[in-house]
Structure formats: C-alpha cells, structure tokens
Symmetry: C2
C-alpha cells in the first residue's frame, strides 16, 4: 500500500514536533572556508563542493526538522555534475530520515509535463534519488499540472503548485484583480483546490497530495487563499532572509495549527557567516545546527 | 562585439529563406527501429538512443531550416546522462550551422532565476553546449525574468517569455479577463513588451533579444498580442501535431512578414511513422528530411 504524501508529511511534522523545512540553495562562493572551490574551478569541482556542503547541512539538521527543500536551480549551472549531486543529496537526505521537496518549478503543456513528471516524481533506477514532492508552475492550467498529479498518485508522492510567491513583482501577474473580486493568484488557488480534491488524492488527515506554494506577502490575500484551499498543505517560503514574519506565517496554517510547512534557507545554511553564531562550535556545521535550532524556536511562537 | 540575438536569428531566417524551426522532443519509444532502446534499458542507454536520434535529425534538417528547438523535458528523465545528451546536441546543432532554442521554461524568484540564467544563458566551460535562447515562465513578474534578460544581454543570447500557450486549459489562467479589457496573457504581453524595449536590447532590425512564446489559439487575441508587442519575435509552437493552421500562424508575423519563428515537432521528427513518407528513402532520416521539406513548404503559404 502506497501511503498518501500529505499523510506522510503530516506524520513527519508531528514526529519532529515542528513544521520547519530547511531550504538548500547552495552557492559555491558562499561555502565555508575549506569547502569553497577555487575561483576558476570547473563544473565538476563546484558540484563536488556543493555536494559536500549539502551533506554537512543534512547531518546538521536531520534530527531537528522533518524535511529539506533542495532547489535544483543551484545545481543546474554545473550541468551533469550538478544534477548528479542533486540526486545524491536527495538519496542521502532520505537515508538521514528527512523528507525531500525538490524545488524544480517545472511546467509545460501536458505532453511535456508528463516527461518532467517522469523525471521528478516517478521511481527512477535503483539508487537514484527522487524527491517526495516537487514544485510546479500553474501558467498552463490543468493540462500542464495533471501529469504531475497522476504521477504523484501512482508513486505516493506530492506536488506544490505555485500560487502566491514571495517576490515583490509577483503582483504584476499574480496580483492582477479580476471582475469577480479575486486576484489571479486567488483564482489559481481555486483551481488548485479543485485539482487537490479530486478522487483519491486526499489522505486520512484531510490534506491532499496536491499542495500550494503560498508566501504570506499580503495578510488579507493569504487569509483568503487559506480559506479557498482547505485541503491543501501550504509550502511557505521566505522565513528568514526573505523577511516574512511570524504573524504573516501564522496565516498559512489552518485553525487547528496544521496544514503548512515553512522554509528558511539562507538564514540557516549560511549561519556560519552570522556573528551571532561565531561561537557555536569548531565546525561550520555547529553554526548551521544553531541556526536551524533558532529557526525551529521562532516557528514555535507561530503555533503558540 | 557581441551581436544581438534577434539580429542573428533574423539573419539566419533570411539565409535559409524560411522561419521554420524543428522541435526536438525525443521519446525513446517513438525512435526508429534500430535506434529504439530495449524496454528495460537504463537511463544511460536511453540517453544514448535519443542522442543518436537527435544527431540524425540535425543531419537531416540542418540545410533547410535556421533553427532547432530542443526540449529539455525529454532529456531530464535520464538524469545526468540525459543532460549530457542535451548539451552535446546543442553543440552539434551549432556545428551544423543551426541556431538553438533551449525549451526549458524556467522561472523562479530573482535570486534563483539568476542561477537558471547562469546554467542556460551564460558561457559554460570549453566544449559545453549553451543554447542561443531559452524559454522562460512569467508567473513571478519582472524580478523572475530580469536575470535572464541580463544574462542574455551580456552573452548575445535571447529569451522567449511564455505569453499564450497552445493547450486548451491555458485559458484557465492566461485567458482570465481583466477589468481593463485585456486577458491575463495580453497583460503579460504588455509586460514583455516593456521588458523587451529596455535600453540596449533592441537590435538593428527592430526586434529585441526578449521575445515571446505565442500560440495562435485564438485569432482575435493573437492579433491583439501582435499589436501589443511590436519589438518581440514570436516563437510559435504547435504547427503540425498540435493542429495550428496556416491562417492562424500568419497572425503571428508583423505586416512586413517577419517577427516570428514557427516550430513543428512531432510531424517532422517522427515523419518515418507516416504512411506518406514510407517511400522517402532507405533511411528514417530521408523521411525526416521529407517531413521537414513539407513543413517548410506549408509555411511558404503563410508568407505568400
């Protein structure tokens, strides 16, 4: 029996006692001394460096959080070497007991989304790392998303459809107001709820394997979006470096305090660059661990 | 001096006398006998098979068309092997005198789009294949697109921002009507024209290195979009298998008969499966060549 992704994620959150998810967006030039590749290093050396760094981050955080979000954009500049590192880190995160969200933001017409779904949500060959869920772009409408939903249902994986993103200029498209009183992203929220509540997708906890990326940029809009998507888990980016506050993030949870997973990336993985973590320990991983602990603590305030 | 992408593309179209672009979307199960991998083949064998096939397609079409569009989604299921094949085919298409559009449909917040731009629009290490232009998703607004624009300007490459796509359900998001009388995709068209007409992006021919993906699904909307984006080259998908007609495609060109490049994928690369090309010649490549010739001929009707 393949269990529902949403049920698995909720169980992992309950087991760790926190909905915190660390985002791994590794830039070679930001790596700790000793891991940082030389300026002229090739794709292979850069990929090796971010692989070593990712391993250290996984080791530092695995006991504290239920999930890691790995952004493939930071691996693609290193070509095939980068992609191998991405896949290896997924496998190693799984071995360390973490669930993995592959932040790939794919989407195309249905015929082509089917290939992306095969790449990122289907069981690969023995030993290849496949994420438990990925992020998906809604611009093509239901046909562009349904191949991901079908693959997720077959393999017990999940997806988070982009609804309201964290950047200011998102409003240029997502924030356009429609005659029915909704904005474009709120209309997308309605679509995602439709897709999420189709037969066989909702787990025993009431959440669907189809979730949504929702940044609480605008409190009023976020509250409305939360109402529009009762069956969707929200993947909430932007805690920490992107500046979302505790109050804003609280809006993403349902009244029972579930239904969201919150990510912080740069504030955790580059904690060793912060003066406040200078005395965390001899290894950079101690600073990452301390940064992760503070992230988890600050999220506790959200949930009271 | 790095010349403008739009000028280079227009010159290539003029040199071949056609705005036809072949789309390479290779599925292992559709390959010709002799190239088709066995059912249980691993990622490496599958990647080898689509690499061989892509080489044959390039050889068959290179003398007839100015450009090839390679869709990375069809390579990603084969992981690092697939990505290596994608990069090698870009390099080999260049060696054969073709311009290359990397159909990658990337897009994220600015910080992250910068990494995708580095991966797909920046000069890679010696010997790596980098496309002349890529496709980009507009859902994040200007911040998500500007890193691609900056990279394109620096390296003389280009991008095509998704505006109106070819699938029916695109209307669920792109077709939403706004109070100002425009639809969402027409509003996106206005944004893209803004981005395209920024300082330094328009070449001597009047077109920008920032173009748009426009499928002429709706004649009236397409005519309006063409008016809204006078400086943008349209990348027009869906000729052939996706069913767009000559009249529909004609709407994508400017009054002087330029400003668009039209792609056909399955109807050309799988021509050997069509009874009409059975007698094209002893090799499957003869059928592909004949399919490409027919595609070019049918486009001639568009331009009178």
């Amino acid at each position: 029996v393949i269990s529902n992704f949403a049920d698995r994620l909720m169980a992992a959150i309950a087991a760790r006692g926190t909905p915190a998810c660390v985002g791994l967006d590794p830039l070679p030039e930001k790596l700790p001394r000793g891991l940082k590749p030389i300026a002229e290093a090739g794709a292979d050396s850069n990929a090796q460096a971010i692989l070593q760094f990712g391993r250290g981050v996984i080791e530092a955080i695995a006991a504290m959080v239920p999930a890691i979000k790995i952004n493939i954009a930071f691996f693609e500049p290193f070509g095939e070497h980068g992609l191998r590192a991405y896949s290896m880190l997924i496998r190693e995160a799984h071995a360390a007991g973490l669930m993995v969200i592959g932040d790939v933001k794919r989407g195309d017409i249905g015929h082509t989304s089917g290939q992306y779904a095969k790449a990122h949500l289907s069981d690969g060959p023995e030993g290849s790392g496949v994420a438990d869920a990925i992020t998906v772009n809604p611009y093509f409408g239901s046909e562009g998303v349904s191949p991901f939903v079908e693959a997720a249902q077959v393999t017990g994986r999940g997806l988070f459809v982009l609804v309201q993103t964290s950047n200011e200029s998102a409003a240029q498209v997502q924030g356009l107001e429609l005659p029915n009183g909704l904005t474009v992203c709120q209309e997308v929220a309605r679509l995602v709820q439709d897709w999420a509540s189709a037969d066989g997708l909702i787990g025993s906890g009431g959440y669907s394997c189809v979730g949504a990326v929702v940044s609480p940029r605008d409190l009023e809009s976020t509250a409305r979006i939360r109402e529009l998507m009762p069956n969707c888990i929200f993947l909430v980016p932007g805690f920490g470096a992107q500046g979302r506050t505790v109050d804003e993030v609280a809006t993403c949870f349902t009244p029972d305090g579930t239904g969201a997973i919150v990510t912080a990336s740069r504030s955790v993985i580059y904690a060793y660059d912060e003066p406040k973590y200078r005395d965390a320990g001899p290894s950079w991983k101690e600073a990452v661990r301390a940064g992760c602990r503070d992230f988890v603590e600050s999220l506790r305030q959200v949930l009271g």
